[in-house]
Symmetry: C2
Subunit: 299 residues, 2 copies
């Protein structure tokens, strides 16, 4: 979780409101600046003093794992996670076997670029299927099948509770409690990727974080919920622009002893994806700085 950026890069850091902020725990998920290539995103974030980058497989594949690893390492960024596992919206057969194989490849890619966690977004129902419980059972089996490979690679399977509005298609893992149960059953090599956007509404989210404890929260995503929300998929808000009590969660995470990464991740087709990525990076830092300080140094 330490950064090692050459002085020549540091000296280029533009003003972002608080040049003294310690951003060593802070990562930007590259989807936030989706128009940038992985190389461009790495260079931009590093130039702004950001500690880490959340990487997406398609961007890493575009430049190849080895080159991606080199660029990230040279910039001194940490990689809290690789997004994401392949959706497995099939009930079995060759398609399921292929999806599991592809996920093994993604585990290897995560290991290659130094990502601590592969974010599991496993899909939901198969075509024509209505049995969400069966889909959830399949996901557990698939995770179990992947786990030896993940353990051998030293990459954690990060179960991410996704907002219930994504249950049918993107992921049938929809609450923190559900994911924590799964993590308890699956054991070592698994943990939770917690995301405020997906969990903020859940009356049991705070209790879930307390129960999980710091070692089972692999990384923590920052985002905000806009009112109104204009699109089911791509209208997430910049930190501070929505209704989520982010300071409350930062205090709670401190209280349970969490000192892992904080990662901003925004899908925003109406706003942030239309802006200059340099501006988005700068504002991401400004908005997140109060919430990402090292433990004991939060406001």
């Amino acid at each position: 979780m330490t950064r090692d950026v050459p002085d020549s890069v540091i000296s280029e850091v533009p003003a972002h409101g608080d040049a003294s902020a310690d951003l060593s725990r802070f990562a930007i998920n590259q989807i936030t600046t989706r128009s940038l290539s992985l190389k461009e995103a790495v260079e931009t974030y590093a130039r702004h003093g950001v500690g880490g980058i959340g990487v997406w497989t398609n961007y890493a594949d575009e430049m190849g794992g080895a080159a991606a690893a080199r660029v990230i390492r040279d910039a001194g960024l940490f990689v809290p996670c690789l997004c994401t596992s392949q959706w497995v919206n099939v009930t079995g057969g060759v398609a399921l076997a292929r999806a599991i194989e592809e996920n093994r490849r993604r585990i290897d890619l995560a290991a290659e670029i130094g990502a601590a966690t592969l974010v599991m977004v496993p899909g939901g129902l198969a075509a024509g299927e209505k049995d969400l419980s069966a889909a959830r059972g399949r996901v557990e089996e698939a995770l179990d099948a992947l786990l030896p490979h993940a353990r051998a690679a030293g990459v954690a399977l990060g179960l991410e509770p996704l907002h219930p509005m994504y249950a049918a298609e993107r992921s049938c893992l929809n609450t923190f409690a559900q994911c924590l149960d799964l993590v308890e059953r699956l054991g070592a090599g698994t943990g939770i990727v917690a995301d405020l956007y997906h969990c903020w509404w859940d009356p049991e989210f705070p209790a879930g974080l307390r129960k999980a404890g710091p070692e089972r929260v692999l990384t923590f995503h920052l985002c905000d919920w806009l009112t109104p929300t204009r699109d089911v998929y791509q209208d997430r808000g910049m930190v501070g622009d929505g209704v989520i009590d982010i300071a409350f969660y930062r205090r709670l995470l401190d209280a349970i002893g969490y000192d892992g990464p904080f990662e901003i991740e925004i899908f925003s087709k109406f706003d942030w994806w239309l802006r200059d990525p340099q501006e988005v990076t700068r504002i991401s830092i400004e908005r997140c700085a109060p919430f990402v300080a090292p433990r004991g140094r939060a406001p």
Copy 2:
């Protein structure tokens, strides 16, 4: 829950695929045919042999409570619920007092039109507020304040878990378990309005229904979840067009001894709201008939 429709009306019943279906437990929520006035909706549903109507306050207010009550009674329809309580997105003061007073009026309106339940959709955060837990606490206090009036009027306060995507604005009651906890704390005169659209994703929904038992489920709403969902508010699916395993829930409700109403409720700005309400009524009956039979007579 019995119907008493004059033969002259019954004889006008158009074919709806299964003229022999017993629709005595089945209601259509009038928002499903939103272009109809309350009088038109009552006449349409009765003509099609539907047992009941879910009423909205604005439609009832338009014709006045007494006239609404007469029209509904004359048609022999039952009223599973009046929708809805007023949102209370304020932290206190005069605005809160006024909202509670308005909700007392709606309880009286429910009593006047013979609605067994006032559906509580209490709102969420106040303007600028980020403390969802505080909002939930306020809702509990407001429900407690309303309860004596509701008990005196013989109208149940129906807590409806709303989909988490509505937590900020429409309702901070978002899971069945949360509502059941509230019902247990508030006691007599309260119960749950369960809606498949809002709860289908919840891994704990089946267990919640079992725990609640038949007497605490006041009415059960039918709807379907479309993939993709194109709008956060108004893209609910006709029963059968989505991914929800409605037959599973019907079996579960039978197993716990539920024999209350089934009510279709659809918000659909892209499809069903654009169609002829007569066609919507006919198709609603066709699609719901397999799920609304009396106990012991379901398929």
